[in-house]
């Protein structure tokens, strides 16, 4: 996967987030503060602009630029978290001109580690970690097994997001609701699933 691949991935994310903006906001209205869709839409549009304004020289540069842009433009909880995720991915791939599936698996693991270091959420706390962690595991497993890693990761993320529905939130804004947070999908987990689905879609182009 080369630099254009990662640029295409961010294009895809930007498009799908724009389309799903209202949906993400509705999820956030139920157990948060109704801004997750607007936050990510603003953030990824800025990522698209940043990548166009200063075309990155490597996949790592694309990922770091995207992450920094999210940190600089999103705010909220998701800005630093997603920003860190992409920055850590970028740092993990370094200045390699091509990212192998094995390297991407490492990078995704670095993203997860970054998110958890910053936000201290465990799996089961009803956050984006609940979609990201199983996706990272599925991606690595598929790489090891020679399967379709992006496909496996997208599916695992989607399942992980759906599995947040019955959970009681222990991190982020939804945690204030206590037991009343149960019965709703976590917006950050839902957007993580979109991001990994975008990765899969980019690979099948």
């Amino acid at each position: 996967m080369d630099t254009p691949f990662f640029t295409a991935w961010f294009e895809e994310i930007t498009d799908v987030v724009a389309v799903q903006r209202e949906h993400l906001t509705e999820l956030d209205a139920a157990i948060g503060d109704a801004d997750h869709g607007a936050n990510l839409d603003r953030g990824f549009k800025a990522v698209r602009e940043a990548l166009a304004a200063k075309p990155p020289a490597s996949p790592g540069a694309a990922l770091v630029l995207a992450g920094s842009t999210l940190i600089r433009k999103v705010g909220g909880a998701s800005g630093p978290l997603y920003g860190t995720a992409f920055r850590e991915m970028g740092k993990a791939v370094g200045d390699a001109p091509e990212v192998s599936p094995e390297l991407l698996a490492e990078a995704l693991a670095a993203a997860l580690a970054g998110v958890q270091k910053l936000g201290s959420a465990e799996e089961g706390d009803k956050t984006m970690v609940d979609a990201l962690a199983p996706a990272v595991r599925a991606f690595s497993q598929a790489v090891r097994d020679g399967g379709d890693a992006p496909e496996a990761a997208a599916r695992a993320a989607l399942e992980g997001a759906a599995a947040t529905i019955p959970l009681t939130a222990r991190k982020g804004r939804a945690s204030y609701l206590g037991p009343r947070s149960a019965g709703h999908e976590d917006p950050g987990a839902a957007s993580t699933a979109l991001i990994l689905e975008a990765l899969r879609a980019t690979g099948t182009r």
Partner: protein
């Protein structure tokens, strides 16, 4: 949804333009989205920076000025500001004595301010932080993101701001801020949800005969929903939650705060109940504020914040302040 806006994308920039036009005592940096005192940093004085999602006006921008903040960083509606804003503000207000960040305890605010503090530290600015977490409506705070920062933010900004004007060092200013926070508790009640411009509809549904206890200031629903009740009962529910946690006695600073859509006449009705509740317990209201100070857009409802005063804190509260939202002694 009908809002007095030009478009959902320009809410913050348009409002900042209005603040700049209305208050010659402020300087608004539209590009970096920072509101400063027009007078600039004072050498040797600790700089105070706060910020958070917009929609809580006059917090924080309305509290920039002599005796309170040196700069405020407004995020999008209900969305924490980004680190760049805070870094920009922090270096701009540093008068050589360091900068205090006053941060409300929300995951987003904490993450963004923490990143900013690190970046500012890299730039050589000494930064300390006070985390405000006064909202007793958040139970089991060990298993959550912790208590939210609400009305006590105003107290911290005022009192730490007053101490900073005296030329006190950063550690002392931070300590008094932390002390005010530790001595303060809040509880909020919503009679109606609010509508954000971006969502365009209420952030939660509330029946014609329901009220929501323990709401935060981000339009998020509260902890329990109960049947609508007289002001007296709602105030007592709020105060008993505060009392259980803080123990109400002695001298107190009390804020009866409107969430944005509640008429002032109703806030005075609530204040009368606060007064009788505290009297019954032998506690005294030494200082008070009644009005819209830490709002949640157009939400109907109120919050109560109580801070247990010491003589020193009362003195700092009484010190002159000159901001758009709070002014006396000048």
């Amino acid at each position: 949804m009908k809002k007095l806006i030009n478009g959902t994308d320009t809410v913050i920039t348009d409002a900042l333009a209005g603040m700049a036009a209305a208050h010659p005592s402020l300087r608004v940096d539209q590009e970096n989205r920072v509101i400063y005192r027009a007078s600039g940093p004072r050498p040797g004085k600790v700089g105070l920076v706060s910020g958070g999602g917009s929609g809580h006006e006059p917090l924080h921008g309305g509290f920039v000025g002599y005796g309170m903040l040196d700069a405020a960083c407004p995020g999008e509606i209900f969305t924490s500001p980004v680190p760049d804003q805070v870094v920009e503000a922090t270096s701009a207000v540093d008068g050589g004595a360091g900068v205090l960040h006053i941060v409300k305890n929300y995951t987003g605010d904490v993450l963004n301010f923490t990143m900013a503090a690190e970046l500012s530290g890299d730039e050589g600015v000494e930064v300390a932080s006070v985390l405000v977490n006064d909202d007793v409506a958040v139970q089991d705070s060990l298993y959550t993101a912790g208590r939210r920062g609400t009305g006590a933010t105003l107290f911290v900004e005022k009192i730490a701001g007053a101490l900073a004007e005296t030329g006190a060092p950063l550690a002392e200013v931070a300590a008094v801020g932390a002390d005010v926070n530790a001595r303060s508790r809040s509880f909020g009640v919503a009679l109606s949800p609010c509508v954000t411009p971006a969502a365009g509809k209420p952030t939660f549904e509330l029946g014609e005969t329901e009220v929501e206890l323990g709401i935060g200031i981000h339009g998020e629903p509260g902890r329990t929903r109960v049947p609508a009740a007289p002001a007296r009962n709602l105030v007592r529910a709020a105060l008993s939650a505060i009392h259980d946690d803080l123990g109400l006695s002695g001298e107190n600073l009390v804020l009866v705060n409107g969430m944005g859509g509640t008429p002032l006449i109703e806030l005075y009705i609530a204040f009368a109940e606060v007064d009788s509740y505290l009297r019954e317990r032998g506690a005294q209201i030494t200082r008070s504020l009644v009005g819209n100070y830490v709002t949640s857009l157009d939400m109907q409802g109120f919050s109560i914040t109580v801070c247990r005063l010491t003589d020193e804190l009362t003195r700092l509260w009484d010190a002159p302040v000159e901001t758009p939202g709070l002014r006396w002694g000048r």
